[in-house]
């Protein structure tokens, strides 16, 4: 009798133990490791911090339940089709160095055994990292490098969510065309003669030199007269000879592709040299950074920049407002082009994993090629995310679009970006011509 009790107790214990372990086994479903390579230190550390915060916020939304945010990934805990698996981000720092980036990619793939890669901001680093990922057949999503050549290499394991520079440059020329046709809010029709002459100055690495080429092509296509296009070193100490060279061409429109420090220097020098073009347009990056705004204060009024996210979007897109509030609570800044795209990049990863229902590279590849995320799930104002699977540009999101914002004085006296393009969502009258420094 006693032995029977003993056996019973023993069996009960066993049941309890298995009972305890059973559910935990299920709950501790496998983690999905995503390697994230960003410039966390070095010259672009400030951008790196934004990118990191954006990706981390997306991971937080994916892993937890946030009922008030109308986004599928925020409603689910973890990846539903993978048994609630959680996303784990492994951050690596490439310091803007392509060689180091390739080493880190190998480390992530072979040592950390990541299921996928996200990154890398600098187009040059994205190039080497995606080459490694391609060789090992590990899927990589790029959220923020905009050099058009990246998706022209025929890679099968590389997808890019952000629109690239060709679209952005096209947006610009559409805007210029719109000005001549009187489509822009607050601007009466301007004859084409008044804005016909263009000059551009771009930094001379991968990104800037591509932009410079695009401006050359498109100005011809749209019938503008590109009088001067020059390339300069981003680490330059003094841009006065560049600015005078631009001025000498007497352009009506000045176009720039600059990183942060050279953008600030450029505007300062333009101001000192009393340049007065009618339009100044920056190709994102430097022109959109909080530093740019904080350093230059009110002298940037009227400057245009292309981007994919502006705080003004909050008024049009409530979802963006909610995410922006969370981001602001975390970092103190509004979402910007860099952080919003990092967020969207990781979000795309979550949706692809959800659709693939497995972490096998082949399944992820299939899912990525057939994914179609509707625009109302995104914080950025795109029609959605859908990658092209054939043609010249493999893996490029075809539903993306850009915005052009203009710095204008806000009610509280600070400088903020107002949406100017696309015309149907513009949030303010465009200041034209530039008031001058």
């Amino acid at each position: 009798m006693r032995s029977l009790v003993k056996i019973n107790v023993f069996v009960l214990c066993l049941l309890m133990v298995t009972g305890l372990f059973g559910p935990t086994n299920v709950m501790a479903a496998k983690e999905i490791k995503i390697g994230v390579i960003y410039p966390l230190t070095g010259g672009a550390a400030a951008a790196g911090r934004e990118l990191r915060a954006g990706a981390e916020l997306a991971a937080k939304l994916a892993n937890g339940v946030f009922a008030d945010i109308p986004m599928t990934m925020a409603q689910n805990e973890g990846i539903k089709s993978l048994g609630g698996a959680k996303i784990k981000l492994i951050f690596k720092d490439h310091e803007g160095n392509p060689t180091l980036g390739a080493d880190l990619a190998k480390k992530l793939i072979l040592d950390d055994k990541v299921d996928g890669i996200l990154g890398c901001y600098f187009s040059s680093v994205t190039k080497t990292v995606s080459a490694v990922a391609e060789q090992y057949g590990v899927p990589m999503i790029n959220g923020s490098s905009t050099s058009p050549s990246l998706t022209k290499r025929g890679f099968k394991w590389f997808w890019r969510t952000t629109p690239h520079d060709k679209w952005f440059t096209k947006d610009l020329f559409e805007l210029l065309k719109g000005i001549t046709e009187g489509k822009v809010r607050g601007v009466k029709g301007v004859s084409k003669k008044e804005i016909k002459n263009i000059a551009s100055a771009c930094e001379k690495t991968e990104w800037g030199s591509h932009v410079s080429g695009l401006i050359k092509d498109m100005s011809k296509e749209y019938g503008f007269n590109l009088k001067k296009s020059l390339l300069y070193t981003a680490k330059s100490t003094d841009l006065s000879s560049e600015v005078r060279s631009l001025k000498a061409a007497k352009p009506d429109v000045m176009l720039f592709a600059s990183y942060a420090s050279d953008a600030i220097l450029m505007v300062n020098t333009l101001k000192a040299q009393k340049a007065h073009p009618k339009i100044i347009w920056g190709q994102d990056a430097g022109f959109e950074k909080p530093e740019f705004r904080n350093t230059l204060g009110s002298s940037i009024e009227g400057i245009l920049t292309r981007t994919v996210f502006l705080p003004k979007l909050v008024e049009i897109k409530p979802l963006a407002g909610k995410v922006n509030a969370m981001y602001k609570a975390k970092t103190g800044n509004d979402l910007g082009g860099a952080s919003a795209r990092a967020f969207t990049g990781l979000q795309t990863w979550v949706y692809i994993l959800e659709k693939a229902g497995s972490t096998k590279p082949a399944d992820i590849q299939r899912a990525a090629n057939s994914i179609n995320i509707p625009g109302n799930e995104l914080v950025v104002p795109w029609a959605g995310i859908k990658f092209s699977t054939s043609g010249e540009e493999l893996g490029q999101n075809v539903l993306g679009s850009g915005l052009i914002g203009q710095y204008q004085k806000q009610a509280d006296g600070s400088m903020g970006l107002e949406i100017i393009y696309p015309f149907d969502v513009s949030s303010a009258d465009m200041i034209f011509p530039l008031p001058g420094f």
């Binding site: 672009a44 009088k227 000879s241």
Partner: protein, 304 residues
């Protein structure tokens, strides 16, 4: 025509600014034959000093110069007694790489403390002001002031080195350290003084140029390279030489401007497409190389 004029004026101004930056390097080299890779980093420290002093106290950035001088002088003396003294005993290689190590240290400490963001002044009497001279020549007020102060600094240092007792002792140390020691000149202290003055001039220059250039921990290296060129062109150790070499280098960086002048005056189509601005600094290095080979002591060199 206005392109040509404004290029020349800008080249002269920029040259004087560059000469100011190189002054400290030439003093240090003149006295103890050591090439200082950390020179640009001292400039960076001067820029941060000016910036933070102006922001913390609310005074005009132009009045921060004494603070920058003080910081620079003590930093120079500390560096000398704590580090450079030991380097002087070693071969050239150790000296070059040792100061390179100092450069890395200062740059990365700055990165750790201040972060990599660009910071710039946006208040001050001069910030953002410029005046027109006519003929399309525009002079930024800040640069003009720095150029003026550069002339003053060169005159002061030149007078100091040639007229005062201490300065003469410094010059003696520069010409022949051993001989100077026999004559009872404390050469060790002279070296420290040279470091103090050398670093102080460059931090002053830094506090001034922060009026028109943003600062981040990486600004140093390009200035270091340009300062090397200037000092070598002028002849290592020659103070008037550095001034004139600075102006020459300033004009060389304006080559793209002269190029534009020819392009637009004679309307030469293909010239507009030559990427001259990307090659801006190449001409500086090339001039250095050519002049070094033709005249190894530099234009105004008096020792080798």
């Amino acid at each position: 025509m206005s392109i040509l004029l404004s290029s020349i004026v800008a080249g002269l101004l920029f040259g004087m600014v560059l000469a100011f930056i190189s002054l400290g390097l030439t003093i240090i080299f003149g006295v103890m034959d050591i090439v200082n890779f950390a020179h640009g980093e001292f400039l960076m420290i001067g820029m941060y000093t000016g910036l933070f002093t102006a922001q913390a106290t609310g005074i005009d950035p132009l009045l921060t110069l004494p603070v920058a001088a003080l910081v620079g002088f003590s930093l120079g003396v500390i560096c000398y007694y704590g580090f450079i003294r030991f380097l002087l005993r070693g071969p050239i290689l150790a000296q070059l790489l040792g100061t390179f190590g100092l450069m890395l240290l200062l740059r990365n400490l700055a990165l750790m403390i201040f972060g990599s963001e660009d910071r710039a002044l946006h208040k001050g009497i001069l910030v953002g002001k410029s005046f027109e001279l006519g003929m399309g020549v525009i002079i930024p007020a800040t640069k003009a002031v720095v150029a003026g102060l550069s002339v003053v600094a060169f005159l002061a240092i030149w007078l100091f080195m040639n007229r005062s007792r201490v300065g003469k002792a410094l010059t003696a140390t520069a010409l022949n350290a051993q001989g100077a020691r026999y004559m009872g000149i404390p050469t060790e202290r002279m070296n420290a003084l040279a470091w103090g003055i050398g670093v102080a001039t460059v931090t002053i220059a830094g506090a001034l140029i922060v009026n028109f250039w943003p600062v981040n921990p990486f600004v140093g290296i390009l200035f270091t390279m340009i300062a090397f060129t200037i000092v070598a062109l002028g002849g290592f150790g020659s103070i008037p030489g550095a001034f004139f070499a600075g102006i020459i280098v300033g004009l060389i960086t304006e080559i793209p401007g002269f190029w534009d002048f020819i392009t637009y005056t004679f309307n030469v189509g293909w010239m507009a497409d030559v990427p001259m601005t990307s090659l801006k600094y190449m001409w500086v290095y090339l001039t250095y190389f050519v002049i070094m080979v033709l005249r190894p002591r530099g234009l105004f060199g008096w020792k080798h």
